[in-house]
């Protein structure tokens, strides 16, 4: 009996021994796992290579920000700035439901377009701020000298400026409308928010004034100009990453919005210093030209390799705005495999100054969709890679600088048409069309005639590039040059089943469209609250400060 008990105890001991061996053999490091798909926060700026990756990552936020449910639709600058900027204006026709909210101006604080433009622009701004903070902690080394670090900072501040301006033109009244009005701008955020604690400090901030926003934009761009490189190689990267010229070019646009024509000229002279064509930048600002072929900056390949594009958002087959966002998908005909959602409006097509002989009406630039699948509207051919959607999204090109300059010079000069202003205007126009009405400076009786021609030229030249709403906004308070009394223009109805009858090259057709209620969406006056986008509900629901500072009417 005793022996048996001993046996039992021995067995228990053996078992316990075996068990403890197994315990001790356990993997001590089993729980020491690190993520393999991402870096930890601490190591993101730990080497020159990673710093470079972080800088490129800012552009990602600009090119392919998020959309509802995690989709990518090219917000804010990979495509959406073009689509929203165009559809808020009258020069395109939205043929389907897709952009109806923007096109018809039925947005409210919950509609996705304004919501995600707001969200992705601020996401871009914080990403820039995070990188700026990270760069501040980097010590210069062999491959990463202080100028290289400063150049990275310049890229961050360039993108931040671009983002604030996009916010300003959609969510704020134009600069010309009392820019110092309290709360007229958007909140300016300049510090990196990487934790709950750093978030708290920013939460108390009110909207700044429009003037403060523009001051900040210019401060960023002035800095960027001093530190950004003049050129980059290869050419594709020069177009897709910020350069000195890009900072200056954006400044010409900003000053134009501010009505500060003298500064447009001061800045513009850096990029087009000559008194007459051909124009080229001053020393230190790269080698941009206006190519003889107006199509040089377009098509998937052209958009990545031309002398005219100063800054574009890079897209490629693997990283683009997707079938529900990419410009070639949305702006190409159904017949060619695109979605055929946004065409060129008959209202622009039939303008007397958009001549039938204009290259920009030719088969190189435009194509009509088939009735059937599509609605037989005219579509642009600026974006061509319908299947892979790799076309870059244009932001700044040399033609805009020339037209910005031309307008500023002429406005500075006043009554008489100015030779340099005309030369710049004519450089853009004459490469596309021979027009007895505009070919010579003598064709313009007054300075205002020339300004009007320049503004018309912008509509033709930049159609389907998203600049229209910016111009409508900045001209809204301009008694002479505003359209539709400064409000949101009337547009051709998106409910028409077949548009072919309305591309007549006859201005009388426009009159018919605009006087037949079933054929148009009515204009809205400048005072209408829908001239501005609302601060989205996603913001006001979480931010009591901004909830109190919503744009009136929403």
């Amino acid at each position: 009996m005793k022996a048996m008990k001993m046996n039992i105890y021995r067995s228990i001991l053996k078992t316990a021994g075996l068990a403890s061996v197994l315990v001790l053999a356990s993997c001590q490091d089993l729980l020491e796992l690190e993520p393999q798909n991402s870096f930890s926060e601490e190591s993101a700026f730990s080497s020159p290579d990673r710093v470079a990756l972080s800088v490129a990552g800012m552009y990602d936020a600009a090119q392919s920000g998020f959309y509802a449910g995690g989709a990518v639709r090219g917000y804010p600058f990979g495509a959406a700035h073009v689509e929203q900027g165009d559809n808020r204006g009258e020069d395109v026709v939205n043929t389907q439901l897709f952009y109806a909210v923007t096109y018809e101006g039925t947005y409210d604080p919950t509609t996705a377009n304004n919501d995600f433009m707001w969200q992705t622009l601020y996401a871009l701004i914080n990403r820039c701020n995070v990188v700026l903070q990270g760069l501040n902690g980097v010590t210069p080394s062999g491959t990463m000298t202080q100028p290289v670090i400063d150049g990275y900072k310049g890229e961050a501040r360039f993108l931040r400026a671009l983002a604030y301006h996009q916010l300003a033109i959609h969510f704020c009244r134009p600069y010309s409308d009392n820019p110092t009005t309290a709360l007229s701008g958007v909140p300016i955020r300049l510090t990196a928010i990487t934790s709950g604690t750093s978030a708290e400090a920013e939460l108390a901030k009110s909207r700044n004034t429009v003037a403060e926003v523009y001051t900040q934009i210019l401060s960023d761009l002035d800095y960027a100009e001093t530190v950004l490189p003049e050129t980059r190689t290869p050419l594709g990267v020069q177009i897709s990453r910020a350069t000195k010229a890009a900072a200056v070019a954006l400044k010409t646009r900003i000053y134009l919005h501010m009505g500060n024509f003298a500064m447009v000229i001061t800045e513009g002279n850096k990029l087009a210093e000559e008194a007459s064509a051909p124009f080229s930048p001053a020393a230190g600002y790269g080698t941009y030209t206006l190519p003889a072929n107006p199509y040089a900056a377009f098509s998937s390949a052209g958009s990545k390799s031309n002398s005219e594009s100063i800054f574009s958002m890079e897209n490629d087959a693997a990283d683009n705005a997707g079938v529900n966002g990419a410009l070639p998908a949305m702006y190409s005909t159904a017949a060619s495999g695109g979605r055929g959602l946004v065409g060129i409006s008959p209202l622009l097509w039939n303008e007397p100054w958009f001549l039938t002989t204009d290259v920009r009406k030719s088969a190189t630039f435009t194509v009509q969709d088939n009735p059937g699948g599509g609605k037989a509207a005219m579509y642009t051919r600026k974006y061509t890679d319908i299947t892979a959607r790799s076309d870059n999204a244009p932001i700044l090109r040399y033609a805009e600088i020339l037209l910005n300059m031309a307008e500023a010079i002429q406005r500075q000069v006043g009554a008489t048409p100015d030779a340099r202003a005309f030369a710049m205007y004519n450089a853009v126009r004459s490469r596309s069309v021979t027009d007895p009405a505009t070919d010579n400076i003598a064709d313009f009786a007054t300075g205002n005639d020339l300004i009007q021609a320049i503004l018309n030229e912008r509509r033709i030249e930049f159609v389907c590039e998203g600049l229209r709403w910016g111009d409508i906004s900045r001209l809204a308070q301009d008694a002479t040059f505003n359209t539709w009394g400064g409000g949101v223009p009337a547009k051709i109805s998106r409910n028409i089943a077949n548009y072919s009858a309305y591309y007549t090259n006859d201005p009388a057709t426009n009159t018919t469209i605009l006087t037949t209620p079933a054929l148009n969406h009515a204009a809205k006056p400048y005072a209408d609250f829908r001239f501005l986008w609302p601060i989205p509900f996603s913001e006001t629901s979480l931010n009591p400060v901004l909830a109190e500072e919503q744009n009136p009417g929403y």
Binding site: I8, I12, T15, A16, L18, A19, L22, V23, L30, L31, L33, P35, S38, S40, E41, A44, V55, A56, G57, Y59, D60, A61, S64, Q96, L97, T106, W118, A123, N126, R127, V130, R189, I193, T194, G196, A199, S240, D316, A317, A318, V323, A334, A335, G337, G338, R339, N370, G372, T387, A388, N392, R494, A497, A518, S538, E539, S541, L542, N543, P544
Partner: protein
């Protein structure tokens, strides 16, 4: 297995003495099993009213001396129904004993062991594998619906491969994972969809025919031993082994075949109605008619193209047996089924091999390998997709043909191939909807799953009350996807064809070492287990994609090199691991006072180093009152023969919280052709698992010698520290606009009732009833504070709020509909202050409604609906709750002379459903087809309606699309006759004539699943979408015929 255990119990308590009296003669006989006719050893045979008796031998035979005449014999055996037989002058009495269903689950599987059901003081439900094994089902989990109290299973779509929602005692987290932990023979299984192209349910890799039993652990005490993984309950699955076929080999074969079809379909406009309705939409907007009948008067019901009569077939073969030292089980299964949605199918082949062997009296070892290959074929079911089977299919023109011989594709397409051909209509279909017939015939969505579930173990039993076990298991799950979009039309057109091949695997290994102890000390019994567990799982995936194909030939089965212009690839890799210690002690005194305690220490790789270890404890007490003498001696035993009360409390956790939710991360951020990284997640080093505090109080009653059993439980689960992605204003620009934080509290409380009864058991006719009923209330107690200091809402969307303090989870949230303005057909709404506004169906402008001047729309100031809450001066309010307040099931089974009929009902109710299918699809205002309800739209001559005036392209204005309105909120109550099973077992007397080729059992059956649904819900099925029905594919009814043969 169970019977073996039971015989041991019986043998232990066998009568020790046999009285010697004056005896006159010898009576012999044999006791057999009603179930399979085999001899039953160890059955007590007693002469009634005496102590004269004996037990049967190994073959079920007995022999005993009895008085010359008179009296009767009582045959009894635990787990079987007792039988009393008058002897008379007989010399031989043979009886067969049937299983006593009320005592079937004498021993139940619990975490890391088994336990006598009688001594349970925790709450769990057992479901016998046989209840599900013969059903026509892809996966067992969907069949658990209605089977057990406290277990809610919702099948939100009719697509085969979709994983049902399983909520054990409510939804146990606000936003983290809520799927129960599923443990198969000790291995925690990977669950959840593995495919990127069509839903797959990894639980379908287990053949229901191989499953012996399901145990669903519900309360804290039962689940605490699973620690941080237990918050949503645990489902333990025990697969079959050969042990029950003592000394022989049994071969079972089953086959069934049948068909499936949609339970119901939509009432769509036919061609002529479409022409009328579409032209009225246009006319109301001042536009000319555009819809016309074609020369052939074509009338197409597109539902005929997207739904079908599918097929079902299932075959299982198993061989099981045991010898003195070894038992074995092998099985082979094959299933093929086609869903009622065109293109949807599932095919599975599986193979199981299991061997257990006693090396000597100290050592035992065993291994099991289960291999499964399955293939799920899917389709585009996107609820907003242009090519979604219902989203698009229901909108297609009914007055055009499906096919067009003149089109190169053979289908009716527009000349450019972009959209459905418009036939005689003069306007193209709005919004670019595609020809569904083409899409379904040419696009491919396939997921092929391979799985190995295997384990080996060794038991060392130095003394009979102590066993050390080391157990090692793997779950190697891999899934290969194939997606192909035809370039000619539909989703592939924009890319000139797309092919994606991807592979994902999630191998898991698990190593457990346990020490079990079970010993009686006089009146005391101690049953304990302690153990260690390690687990690691890897998640890895990659894909390759090509677009712009050279030829259709190359997009059929996989990526073919150099047949496409653009190529893409991607992938990811991550790991997770656990390291745990656990233990459980169950103590009972005099078989009536029960005490249980369990604990687990879990270390998780998912959390920051200094907070990653946590302890979870649970305890329970039970009192079997009916074991007390005062109970036994009272007269109550004539009515109530058993009574147990019990209570438990535990704290468990939920670690289904993502892989590295606490870390600040920089993820990939590619910019065009340039590589980049960017801040992608804000860190929170304090993050912990969610904690679930579970309280359970219950009682078990047995009446009339267990003819009726009744179980009652009250539960209360407080879930603290929910991990919420606390939102920050988007203008701060932080990644995802939020930070993970342990915040928020919810409570699930409710009651469960289970009744099992045998109302009739007479003359061979047996009627059994099983009924369960559960009430559950899920209440949000705390979320996070918004910046104004109030409780913030979590997951506030356009249709529902996931969590609002003081409300249940998942409430429908929107505007109150006030019907149609009879004067002009505008829809009307009730504002927060009670005033009525109307919305112009054309312009969308809101104006106050004036009953005395109905057509006046000028009073617009302040009329627009405001999206904030009524309590905040806005106009949105709670319109209903999506989670049922009660649910349950009722089984009636009838057996008579081998004929069996089972009717299984389940029900659920107290909830509301948002019928978004009606709002977005059936009542759409575009130039597309819709439902018949459009014909009820307001017209100047038909003003008494609640369907507003139609207006082309004004769905948002007419139906308020994009937000919820009470017009589309409906009651979700339903009763379903889930299954009707009719079977016939060929009597033994006939089977015995099969000679050498001995068939021991033969049963034929016919069954209908999803037979009938009774509900006032106007959509297809009140369970679709689980509260928001948005173009979900209809549930289908399956009719099957089958047979089981046992050799």
């Amino acid at each position: 297995m169970k019977r073996l255990l039971l015989s041991c119990v019986v043998l232990a308590f066998m009568f020790c003495t046999v009285q010697t009296q004056a005896q006159d003669r010898t009576l012999t006989g044999r006791v057999t099993s009603t179930e399979d006719g085999t001899g039953l050893p160890g059955v007590n045979v007693v002469l009634k009213g005496t102590t004269v008796g004996t037990t049967t031998d190994a073959d079920g035979r007995y022999s005993m001396s009895i008085p010359a005449s008179g009296g009767s014999l009582v045959f009894s055996f635990i787990g079987l129904e007792s039988k009393e037989v008058p002897i008379g002058e007989l010399a031989e009495v043979n009886v067969s004993l049937a299983l006593d269903v009320t005592q079937l689950s004498e021993v139940v599987v619990v975490g890391y062991g088994v336990q006598e059901k009688r001594k349970l003081s925790s709450s769990l439900s057992s479901v016998a594998g046989s209840q599900i094994s013969q059903l026509a089902t892809q996966s067992f989990d969907s069949q658990l619906a209605g089977r057990a109290a406290g277990v809610q299973v919702i099948m939100p779509t009719g697509i085969i491969g979709a994983t049902p929602q399983i909520n054990i005692r409510g939804i146990n987290s606000i936003t983290s994972g809520t799927f129960p932990l599923v443990v198969v023979d000790g291995i925690p299984m990977t669950t959840g969809n593995q495919s990127g192209v069509t839903p797959t349910n990894p639980l379908s890799s287990i053949n229901p025919a191989d499953i012996e039993s399901y145990e669903i652990l519900k309360d804290g005490a039962a689940t605490a031993i699973f620690g941080s993984r237990a918050a949503s309950g645990v489902i333990l699955i025990t697969t079959k082994n050969g042990a029950k076929n003592k000394g022989k080999t049994s071969i079972d074969f089953s086959a069934s075949t049948g068909f499936s079809e949609a339970v119901s379909t939509f009432d769509l406009l036919n061609a002529e109605q479409f022409v009328e309705v579409a032209n009225e939409k246009l006319a109301n907007a001042g536009l000319a008619p555009a819809a016309f009948m074609d020369a052939d008067n074509t009338n197409t019901d597109w539902q005929d193209e997207i739904l079908r009569r599918g097929s079902f077939s299932n075959y299982n073969l198993s061989v099981g047996g045991s010898s003195e030292s070894t038992n074995y089980y092998f099985s082979l299964g094959y299933q093929y089924q086609e869903g009622a949605a065109v293109s949807n199918a599932f095919e599975r082949l599986n193979f199981t091999s299991r061997v257990d062997h006693n090396i000597n009296k100290y050592l035992k070892t065993g291994a099991k390998i289960q291999l499964t290959r399955s293939k799920t074929t899917g389709l585009n079911t996107g609820s907003n997709a242009l090519s979604g089977n219902l989203a698009g299919g229901l909108k297609l023109f009914p007055n055009v043909k499906v096919k067009d011989p003149n089109n190169p594709t053979g289908y009716n397409l527009s000349s450019d191939g972009q959209v459905l051909g418009q036939g005689a209509n003069t306007r193209s279909i709005d919004n670019n909807y595609t020809n569904q017939a083409f899409v379904l015939a040419n696009n491919k969505f396939e997921a092929e799953e391979s799985r190995i579930l295997a384990n080996v173990y060794a038991d060392f039993t130095p003394v009979e009350f102590l066993t050390f076990r080391t157990f090692f298991g793997i779950d190697a799950l891999g899934n290969k996807d194939f997606l192909s979009y035809d370039p000619r039309h539909g989703d592939g057109r924009g890319s000139n064809g797309v092919v994606t091949n991807s592979y994902r695997q999630t191998p898991l290994w698990n190593w457990q070492n346990t020490l079990s102890f079970n010993k009686d000390f006089a009146d005391h019994n101690v049953d304990a287990v302690v153990g260690l567990e390690y687990q690691k799982q890897t998640f890895e995936s990659f894909f390759g994609q090509g677009t712009s194909f050279s030829d259709l030939f190359f997009i059929q089965n996989g990526l073919i090199s150099n047949t496409y212009v653009n190529q893409f690839s991607g992938g990811g890799f991550n790991q997770t691991a656990y390291q745990s210690f656990f233990g459980r002690v169950n103590y009972s005194f005099r078989d009536r006072y029960l005490l249980g305690f369990s604990a687990r220490h879990d270390g998780l790789s998912k959390l920051a180093e200094d907070v990653r270890n946590g302890d979870f404890f649970g305890g329970s007490v039970g009192y079997i009152i009916s074991e007390e003498d005062f109970f036994k001696n009272s007269g109550i035993t004539n009515v109530m023969n058993s009574l147990k009360i019990r209570g438990s409390y535990a704290e468990v956790g939920n670690q289904d919280i993502g892989l590295f939710p606490y870390l600040g991360l920089y993820g990939s951020a590619r910019y065009g052709t340039q590589n980049g990284i960017a801040f992608s997640q804000v860190g929170n080093g304090d993050l912990q698992w969610e904690t679930s505090k579970k309280l359970n109080i219950g009682a078990d009653f047995g009446f009339l010698n267990d003819k009726i059993t009744f179980t009652f439980d009250y539960f209360n689960n407080d879930i603290d520290g929910n991990i919420l992605f606390v939102p920050y204003p988007p203008s701060l620009g932080i990644p995802g606009n939020g930070i993970n934080q342990n915040i928020g509290k919810i409570r699930n409380s409710g009651m469960e009732f289970t009744i099992n009864a045998t109302p009739v058991n007479k003359g061979g006719f047996v009627w059994n009833v099983g009924f369960n009923f559960t009430t559950v209330k899920t209440e949000v107690l705390e979320t996070f504070r918004n910046s104004a200091g109030a409780w913030a809402e979590v997951g506030a969307g356009s249709y529902e709020i996931l969590a609002r303090v003081g409300e249940p989870l998942n409430v429908i949230y929107g505007y109150q509909y006030a019907g149609v303005n009879p004067g002009n057909g505008n829809p009307m709404y009730v504002k927060g202050d009670g005033s009525i506004v109307q919305r112009n169906v054309n312009t969308g402008t809101y104006s106050f409604y004036d009953e005395n001047n109905q057509t006046d729309e000028t009073n617009t100031v302040g009329a627009a609906l405001v999206s904030t809450d009524v309590s905040a001066g806005g106009d949105r309010r709670i319109l209903g709750q999506q989670l049922p307040k009660y649910y349950g099931g009722l089984t009636n089974s009838f057996n008579w002379k081998g004929i069996s009929l089972e009717v299984f009902l389940r029900f659920s109710g107290g909830n509301e459903i948002y019928n978004q299918t009606a709002q977005d699809n059936l009542l759409n205002q575009d130039f597309t087809n819709g439902g018949k309800d459009l014909m009820k739209s307001w017209t100047p001559s038909e003003t008494n309606t609640d369907v507003p005036k139609m207006w082309i392209n004004r769905s948002a204005q007419v139906n308020q699309t994009g937000v919820a309105i009470s017009r589309f909120v409906e009651k979700g109550d339903f009763v379903k006759i889930q299954n009707i099973v009719l079977g016939y077992s060929i009597p033994r007397s006939i089977l015995d004539k099969t000679g050498n080729f001995k068939v021991s059992s033969l049963r034929v059956f016919a069954q209908v699943q999803n037979a009938f649904t009774f509900s006032k819900y106007t959509g297809i099925d009140p369970e679709l979408g689980a509260g928001r029905d948005n173009n979900a594919t209809p549930i289908f009814r399956t009719v099957t015929f089958g047979l089981n043969v046992g050799l």
